[in-house]
Amino acid sequence: MLREKTHALRVAAAFVAVFVLAGCNGGTVDRHALTNDAGTIDSINCEAWLVSDGAARDRVTTAYTRVQSKALALQASNLADALAHRPTAAGLERRTRAKARAAATLAARLRALHAHPTDRPAARTLSERFKRAGGCA
């Protein structure tokens, strides 16, 4: 019985170790992390473009626009916080903080879409901004 318990504890410890190791995502912003985060900001911009374009052309529901823009705003806002406060590798501080500002702007625009999901002219304007900011194809 003791051996079974030990085995079970080892399995549990292995699971915890994998969660902890895989979850380590903080620390210093290096070139690779900055490239990834910049890619994520572009991705959120492009998704926001599709959602706001759908809202502008009445091709998505109001509930969908509100829920999805809120989820994307939260993601952008978390990214903005992380990029604004995490330490950076040498020579990357200016670019990192610029990306933090871009993410914060993105979050603010998404919150505007969330607040006015049925305002089609506003959605059209936001859609153009998202598309330009994300360099979306």
Binding site: R3, E4, H7, A8, V11, F15, V18, F19, L21, A22, G23, C24, N25, N36, G39, T40, D42, S43, C46, E47, W49, L50, V51, G54, D58, R59, V60, T61, T62, A63, Y64, R66, V67, Q68, A71, L72, Q75, G134, G135, C136, A137
Partner: protein
């Protein structure tokens, strides 16, 4: 005629019930990241789940024993307990992810609070589980899941480059970020070969009173149902490639996926996509919660089964209620269901050999199976997939770590 109709209805339900949150997440993300390059993994995964399910269904029909009966009998208590623990952890993670998925789909339809919808989802699942007959549960969620066919229509409507689609079926390694590519390949295999589907399938066979007369039906159900269900996975990957890769979107939310149907087809397609996701993850939640209860009851020799009144199998009934509550507790912590899904799929790939190997051994045992033991084809496929499963199990966690859970 009635038998044929039943078979057709069962297959329809299987198509709609094939996709779960792991398939939705991994297939769409794989398409969004690597285009059509990983199409070849889906048929390999589908044949794998057919081989595994057919064997376990045949063992159930011949011996009247489901997977965890067989595992305990073949491996003994200690080794069997390890397999049970691993399976229950993976089942619980999967259940938590599916419940989170139900709440997200409901939220996309109603804009109500996510936490309120989590509670509502668990209560609704409990009511359905307590009151509906198993056959009706399967059909309700299976037919609802057919709304996912909107992704197949979208995939065609998006006019993909069919030459590139065809080339995607040729196995190869991508030169662009090969570790991430391998992570997705492992994830797609894990998502297609989720063990809970097999536990549910073989236990369901016993609940339906399968005997050796149903071996043909078992084979037809496994082959046709899973193969057609695999087309939904292909459609999701194609939509991922045609919409999300094209626009540079990494789909990190469940709500992103229906945009893939909305883009070519409009608002109705968006709604059908969300409803399809709702029924697919709802059906998978039911399969998962029952699998967890089946496994525990079979391993410890308790009374089990949906055809008994809950009072006739009290420990089985208490188990599924406790599993629902544990899964609810996990998602109420605020953990992202998509992240839970990724861990669940990768860990299920790791745990897969623990139940696959005993089933393969028993299915090939002439004393146990008599004339219904594995034939040459079943044995060749069984051994080939044993190698595939072992490779997947050994590499899954290193790839999870190397790619930082697919972030790379």
């Amino acid at each position: 005629m009635s038998k044929l109709l039943n078979l057709a209805l069962g297959i329809l339900a299987a198509i709609g019930g094939f996709v779960d949150i792991g398939d939705l997440v991994f297939n769409t993300a794989a398409g969004a990241t690597f285009g059509y390059q990983l199409m070849w993994v889906i048929p390999i995964g589908v044949v794998g789940i057919i081989v595994y399910s057919e064997m376990s269904g045949r063992v159930a029909a011949v011996s009247g024993k489901a997977v965890f009966d067989t595992v305990r009998e073949r491996t003994g208590f200690s080794a069997g307990l390890g397999a049970l623990l691993a399976s229950e952890v993976v089942n619980l993670l999967t259940l938590a992810a599916e419940i989170g998925g139900i709440a997200i789909a409901l939220q996309l339809l109603t804009d109500l609070s996510y936490r309120v919808l989590l509670l509502l989802a668990v209560v609704a699942l409990a009511v359905v589980l307590w009151t509906l007959h198993l056959e009706w549960i399967e059909r309700l969620f299976g037919y609802g899941g057919l709304c996912l066919l909107v992704f197949a229509v979208a995939a065609v409507k998006l006019s993909p480059d069919w030459v590139k689609v065809g080339a995607g079926f040729v196995p190869h390694i991508s030169q662009n970020d090969p570790w991430l590519y391998l992570y997705f390949a492992i994830g797609l295999l894990g998502a297609a070969m989720t063990p809970y589907e097999v536990y549910f399938y073989s236990s369901g066979g016993i609940e339906d009173g399968w005997t050796t007369k149903e071996i043909g039906l078992n084979r037809a159900n496994a082959i046709v149902g899973y193969a057609l269900g695999g087309f939904l996975s292909l459609a999701l990957m194609m939509v991922g490639a045609s919409v999300f890769l094209k626009h540079g979107i990494e789909p990190e939310h469940l709500g992103t996926i229906p945009l893939g149907a909305q883009e070519p087809l409009g608002k109705i397609a968006l709604l059908l996509g969300i409803v399809g996701i709702l029924f697919a993850v709802g059906g998978a939640a039911i399969d998962t919660v029952f699998s967890g209860a089946y496994n525990l009851a079979q391993f410890f020799g308790w009374e089990w089964g949906r055809y008994r009144h809950p009072a006739g199998a009290p420990r089985f009934s208490v188990t599924w209620i406790v599993l629902l509550l544990c899964a609810l507790a996990i998602v109420l912590t605020g953990v992202d269901p998509i992240m839970v899904t990724e861990y669940a799929v990768i860990f299920s790939a790791v745990a897969l050999p623990l139940t696959y190997i005993p089933i393969l051994l028993v299915a090939n045992d002439p004393e146990y199976m008599g004339a219904n033991r594995n034939g040459t084809l079943a044995n060749v496929l069984g051994v080939v997939y044993l190698v595939v499963i072992m490779v997947v199990a050994v590499t899954a966690i290193p790839l999870l770590l190397i790619t930082n859970v697919g972030q790379s």
